[in-house]
Structures are given as C-alpha cells and as structure tokens.
C-alpha cells in the first residue's frame, strides 16, 4: 500500500497512541494489583509512572498540532488526526485514574481493605479489556467491534452499582467502616470512569470510520 506523506505521519502518531494505550493498560493493571496485594512500593511506582504517560500525551498532541499546521490534512485525514488527538486526551485521563487508584492505595497504607478484593479486580479487568478492544477497533477500523465496546460499558456500570450498594450496606451497618468503604468507592468510581472513556475512544473510532458523531454511552450515569 502506498501512503502519502500525511498518512505516514498519521500512522506514526497512531503507533504512539498504541504505545500510550499499552502504558495506560499496564498502569491500571499494576494499580489494581498493588492495591490488592497491599504493595505500597508498587503503588508509588504507579503514581510516578503517570508523569511518563502525561509526557507521551503531550508529545502526541504536539505531533497532531504540527501536522495540522504544516500539512493541512483534509477530509478523512482531518478526521483521523482529530480522532487521534481526542483519544490521546482520553488515554491521559485514564492514566490519571490509575494514578488516583495508586494514591488511594497509599492513603490506605497498612490498613487491610474492607473486604476481599474480588469484584474490583474483575471490574478493572473488564475496563482494561474495553480499552484494549477499543484500540483494536482503531487499528482495524472495525465499527462493529467499537459498538461492542460501547455495549460492554453496561456490564461495568452494573458491576459498579452492585459494588456501590454493597459498600453502602457496610457503611450503614458499621459507621466505623465509612473511611475504608469510601476508599474502595473511589476506586470503583475511577474504574467506572475508565470504562466510560474507553467508550469515548470507541465512539471516536466510529466517527473516524463513518464520519458520524454519536453518543453510544446510553446508560451513562450522572457524573459525580
């Protein structure tokens, strides 16, 4: 396949997006592992790693702006560069959630978690899988896959609600557990937002392929 100069540049930027996505996936996975295993050293590493993610995001943003300014891409290429720009921002925010989980783990310190972490790692796994598949959809320009990612958000939301109710019950039963329950609540919230942002990436992919902007995150809860 012969690519134009603009396309070559766009492929390079997209490669950087893939690397950034991989960093974010690892950051989330490590954040949850560290939380579960109460490994504060690992949590500190996750928090520190966010700087690398931020740096990468700025590098991508700069490449995009540079491309827009110097090459004046049109039509499909323009959609491409705009989609990549948005995805970079989404990924960076997801990185922030990983950092947030790392910070919560540090705040919890030596305290044991309120309950064994089973559903939260499952939720993290689902969110990471959504992120991975949304990036798969970007690589293969697969609208169907992107729509599947958007649909999967409902499962994460359901799990979120279940954990939320469970933690609420803990707090009602024993007000002394409020502090520890709140930590876990933040973690689930961060994961829920991560899944939402994966949906946003999938929507960007649909926009990139079809040129249509649509909000597929139908069951979006009010943000809090």
């Amino acid at each position: 396949m012969i690519r134009t100069n603009i396309e070559n540049r766009l492929v390079e930027i997209q490669d950087d997006i893939l690397a950034l996505a991989s960093m974010v996936e690892k950051a989330i996975a490590h954040a949850i592992d560290a939380l579960r295993e109460r490994d504060l050293e690992a949590s500190r590493a996750v928090v520190a790693f966010d700087d690398v993610i931020d740096e990468k995001r700025f590098a991508i943003e700069e490449s995009c702006v540079d491309l827009l300014a110097t090459q004046q891409p049109a039509a499909r290429d323009l959609r491409w560069v705009i989609a990549l720009l948005h995805i970079a921002v989404e990924l960076e925010r997801m990185g922030d959630y990983a950092e947030g989980i790392g910070k919560i783990s540090l705040m919890m310190g030596d305290e044991p978690p309120l309950k064994p972490l089973i559903d939260i790692p499952r939720m993290a796994e689902m969110s990471i899988s959504m992120l991975h598949r949304s990036i798969d959809a970007l690589v293969t320009r697969d609208v169907d896959l992107a729509e599947q990612v958007c649909a999967a958000d409902d499962e994460v939301d359901a799990l979120h609600e279940q954990i939320y109710n469970e933690l609420l019950l803990f707090m009602i039963k024993d007000p002394r557990s409020i502090q520890r329950a709140t930590y876990l609540l933040w973690v689930t919230h961060d994961l829920e937002r991560t899944a939402d942002r994966a949906t946003n990436i999938a929507e960007r992919v649909i926009y990139l392929v079809t040129g249509k902007m649509q909000d597929l995150n139908l069951s979006k809860e009010p943000e809090f």
Binding site: L18, A21, I135
Partner: protein, 592 residues
C-alpha cells in the same frame, strides 16, 4: 496490416524476396536481349525484302509502265511477304502502296527512313502509323537501275511482332517464378517449422520450469544447435532442481528448528511489518491462529515496553536486552532485539524467552520458605512460652509442670513430624529415595488396607466399602510407600467425611493400567482450590491449623509419580471427592 513476426513467416518472406529479385534481374536482361535480337533480325529481314521488292519492281519503272501493273505487282509482293510495301518516287510522291491509295498519301520525302535510304543506302525507322495508329517498323532502300535512282522501295511490318515474340519468354519466366516462390514458401516454411518447433519446445520447457515444474525435460530433436541448446537446458533444469531441493531442505530444517524451539522468534522488516513468526512466538504473544504476517508489529503487539526495545534497536543498531511484563496474560518475557544488518533494510530479530514459569518457581520457593517458617513459628512460640513459664516458677507446681512438659513434647513431635515429612518429600522429589519395587498384588494389599481402617470407620460412623474387580493385575511397587499413599488418601477421606457418610475403596483395570479410587461423600473441594491441592502446604481451609501441614497429598503424588503412575482428583463443593491412583499393570494377571 502487421506482419506476424514468427520465424516461419520471416524466413519464407526472405526466401521469396531473394528469389523474386534474382528472377527479376535475370528476366530484365533476358527480355532486353531477346527484344534487341528480334528487332535486329526483323530489320534485316525487312531490308532483304525491301531489296527484293526493289529488284522486282525495277522493270516497271524502266518501261514507263502503267501504274496499274505497278500496283498489281506491289499488291502481289505484299501478300507474298506478308508486309506492307510502298514505292516512292525520289521526290517523295508515293507511286504505289499495298495498303492505301497512293494519291491520298502525303509526300514521304520527309520520313527519316526515306531520306536516309536516299542518302545512305538504307533507312530504318519505327513509328506509329497515322492511319492505323499501330507501331510499324519501316525499312527503305533506294531503287536503282543503271546507276539511276528511280525511287525508294519501302517495306513495313508491325513492331508488335517483336513484342509478341517476347510473350512466351515472359510466360516461361512467370511460370518458373511461380514455381520458385511456391518452392521457397514450402522449403522456408518447412525449415522454419523444424527450427521453431525446437524453439517452441524450449519455450514450453522454460515456462514449465518457471511454473515450478522442475522435473520437466525438453525432448531434443535433430542434431543441430537446437539440440545442444535443449541438452544445455535440461542440464540447467537438473541443477536448478538440485539447487531448489537443497534450498527447501535447508528451509525445512530452519523452519523445523524455528518451530520446535521454545523461544519465540519474530522478524520485523524496516517498515515495521512482521515477516517471520515462529510457533513459540505465537504462543507467547497470544497471536496464534491470527494471520499476522505482513501486518504491522505495532498494531499486533501493542506493548509499549516491547515496542520501545524494538525502536531503540532500530535507532542504535545494536543488540538490546530487556524484561517485559505483559499484564493481559500475566507473562514475563526476556526479550533480545538484534538488528539484522545483512538484510540491508533495517530488519529486527526479536527473541523472546518466557520467564513466566521461572517467576512462578521463584514465587513458589519464596512461598515455601515463608510457609515452612510460618508452620514452625507456631509450635516454636508455644515451646518458648511453655519453657519460659516453667523457668519462671511453673516448675514448682508439679502437676502443671508435667502438663507443660507433655505439651512441649507434643509440639516438638509435631515439628519433628513436619521436618520428617519435608525430608521425605525432598527425597522423593530429588528421586534419591530408593523404591523397593517388587510385584505387588493389589487384592490382598487393598483388602488389608480396608481391614486396618474398619475400626476407625466404625468409630466415626462411616461406611467403608471395598469393591475390587476380579483378576486384578499386579503392579510393580514399593509396598511401604503404597501403604503411605493410600493411608494418606484414606486419612483425608476420613477427615473430610461427616458422620453417616460413605467412603469407597475400589480398583479395576482400565486400558492396561490399574485404577485405584478412593471416593468419599464428604465436603468436597471447591473448584478454585482443585488445581492447587497437590502443592506443598496447600490447605483448602487455612483456618484449620491443627489438621496436618498440607504435605500429605504432595507426598502421595510424588510417590505415585515415582512409580510411573498418576494421581488425579475430581470433586465439586459439597459433593465429595474422588482421588484416582493410576498405576501401570505388571503384565500377568494375578492368580487371585
């Protein structure tokens, strides 16, 4: 029209052209020669006839005879010689003519032949007759009698005679030409066909060779250069086949090596496209089944640490080494990226070694050490406390002191038992423990095991069943070790089976192996614990500290494996558990 550029066509064309050219030149000279000869002989003939006419008509002039007689004579002569005869007075007046009335004719003095006849004795001229518009050759001679020029006698014949005499020559040449051309076409076509058949055969051979038909050989025809060419072609085909065979053999070896090696190998070209991936790499990177060749590495692998290694290798053109964790599959890889400079296009060779197992072993070892220390810490702490209590006064209270000593003794026994079990396990694992292998008849052996455990079953109100198939084959085994295995399994069964439960000990032959099953109706093993129950220190219920060390099943499994057999567990939570010992049969059936 485009001339077809086949050899046959061209050769025929050349032959024909050459033939026609030669024939053309030859016939040109021939016709010119024949025409001039014929013309000369006609002129000579006409001159002789003119002189005869002059001779014959001279008398009529002498007597001043009447024109009628002259006319008659002229007409007669004309008929005789078959030519036009004219008699002209020296002044040019026509005296008599065999074709026209003289008076109607113009003065002939101006005609060149008449003029020359009078001056030079003979005159020849060819011209078109104004009357008949036919070309005639005129020959005139003076009519002399007694040295007096009486007039001019002229004879004329159609020049067409000369042309007509050439026609047969033309026809002859034409016939020869036609025959020649036909022959040229035939011969040219034939010769060309012969040559071109060889060439067509060679072309077909080359085409077959190009299509990979390396066993195709060209049939050599004739004994000219084309045959040599065909032989050379066949020799080339042979060496080509050998070359290809050697090459594919090498390739096969390489592919076999690549696909059987445990390390993953991926080659990426300068554009970042995957050009080679071996079986192990597909497994390690979880890309098996997908068609990843010719796709971009970045899009398939999607791991920034790996990508970074590749990028650094491309940039610096030197070997890079790194350890990469792929969180999706919990894999740890040791990766080496090598620039393949000799490919000239900045290809990168990736070798991946899966460290996951090594990491797991490391983790297991760490866990083992911490488990052993944990297991020893409890009894040690108890001994320490009891000893301290004794030294700080309890020694005086005889009754308490006795109790404390008994407890110290039992804690030390516990530790000793554990250390013994650990040593046993380590011996079996390192295969240093020598098995006293001898034919073991399972029938009496299992019956004995059953009898030994009957009292315990009665005490716990559990039914202990024995179901042995008849004609059980012997196994080769160490009776003491086997006793340990089944003792362990039965012990576990008793421990986890509640009152009124049932434990069955059964044995039968299956596919040349002997299967001994210990099944209970106890609490069973939850699914998530099932894969781990043979691990050292693994306990399904960690809270039940006092009940063993979690080493029994590990030891049992190792003993069975040392016998060349297998130990499996099947269970579901609340549904009891079944442990199956599979041992190779000894061949001959036990004589019951």
């Amino acid at each position: 029209m485009r001339v077809p550029r086949t050899l046959q066509w061209r050769m025929t064309l050349v032959y024909t052209t050459l033939l026609l050219l030669t024939l053309g030149v030859a016939s040109f000279y021939l016709v010119t020669y024949i025409r001039s000869t014929n013309q000369a002989s006609l002129e000579t003939r006409l001159e002789h006839e003119a002189r005869l006419v002059a001779e014959a008509t001279a008398p009529y002039f002498a007597e001043q005879a009447d024109p009628g007689a002259l006319h008659a004579a002229v007409a007669r002569i004309s008929t005789t010689i078959g030519a036009r005869v004219t008699l002209i007075a020296p002044g040019g007046t026509v005296l008599a003519d065999s074709a026209q009335v003289p008076d109607e004719m113009a003065n002939q003095a101006v005609q060149p032949e008449v003029e020359r006849a009078l001056n030079a004795g003979v005159g020849v001229n060819t011209r078109r007759s104004s009357a008949t518009n036919e070309e005639f050759i005129h020959v005139a001679v003076p009519l002399i009698a007694r040295d007096t020029v009486l007039g001019v006698a002229r004879v004329a014949a159609p020049a067409a005679q000369v042309q007509e005499s050439i026609i047969p020559v033309f026809i002859g040449i034409g016939m020869v030409g036609l025959a020649g051309v036909a022959l040229a076409v035939l011969v040219g076509y034939g010769v060309a066909a012969r040559t071109s058949r060889s060439i067509v055969a060679l072309t077909e051979g080359a085409r077959q060779l190009a299509a990979g038909e390396l066993d195709y050989r060209v049939q050599a025809q004739g004994n000219d250069e084309t045959q040599e060419l065909a032989q050379a072609f066949n020799r080339m085909a042979v060496s080509l086949r050998d070359l290809v065979r050697d090459h594919s053999l090498e390739q096969g070896k390489l592919a076999a090596v690549l696909n059987t090696m445990a390390d993953g190998v991926v080659v990426i070209d300068g554009n970042g496209t995957i050009v080679l991936v071996n079986h192990a790499a597909e497994q390690i990177l979880d890309i098996a089944g997908g068609d990843v060749l010719d796709r971009r590495f970045t899009e398939i692998i999607r791991d920034h640490n790996l990508l970074q290694l590749v990028a650094r290798c491309t940039e610096r053109q030197e070997v890079q080494h790194g350890e990469v964790e792929i969180p999706q599959w919990r894999r740890y890889l040791s990766v080496i990226t090598t620039p393949l400079a000799e490919h000239g296009d900045a290809s990168i060779l990736l070798t991946m070694h899966d460290l996951t197992r090594i990491r797991q072993v490391e983790t297991t070892r760490k866990e083992f050490v911490s488990n052993v220390s944990h297991e020893l810490r409890g009894p040690l702490a108890a001994v320490k406390t009891l000893a301290e209590s004794l030294s700080s006064g309890a020694l005086k209270d005889k009754k308490r002191a006795k109790d404390f000593l008994r407890r110290i003794n039992s804690e030390v026994d516990r530790m000793a038992a554990m250390v013994n079990e650990l040593m046993e396990l380590s011996r079996i694992e390192s295969e240093q423990s020598s098995l006293q292998l001898q034919p073991l008849d399972l029938h009496p052996f299992l019956t004995e095991m059953h009898e030994e455990n009957e009292p315990l079953a009665e005490k716990q109100e559990i039914t202990l069943e024995l179901a042995l198939a008849e004609h059980l084959p012997c196994v080769r085994g160490d009776e003491n070790k086997m006793r340990q295995v089944f003792g362990n399994l039965l012990n576990n069964a008793f421990r986890f089976t509640p009152k009124d439960g049932r434990i069955s000990l059964s044995a039968q032959r299956e596919n040349g192996m002997v299967c001994v099953r210990v099944a209970d109706t106890g609490v069973g093993i939850p699914r998530k614990h099932l894969p781990h129950i043979f691990e050292r220190f693994y306990k399904v219920d960690r809270s039940r500290h006092s009940e063993g060390f979690g080493l029994g099943l590990a030891i049992a499994k190792h003993i069975v494996q040392a016998h060349g057999g297998e130990l499996h567990a099947e269970s579901a939570e609340g549904q009891g558990a079944t442990f199956t010992v599979v041992l190779p049969a000894e061949g001959e059936t036990a004589a019951n």
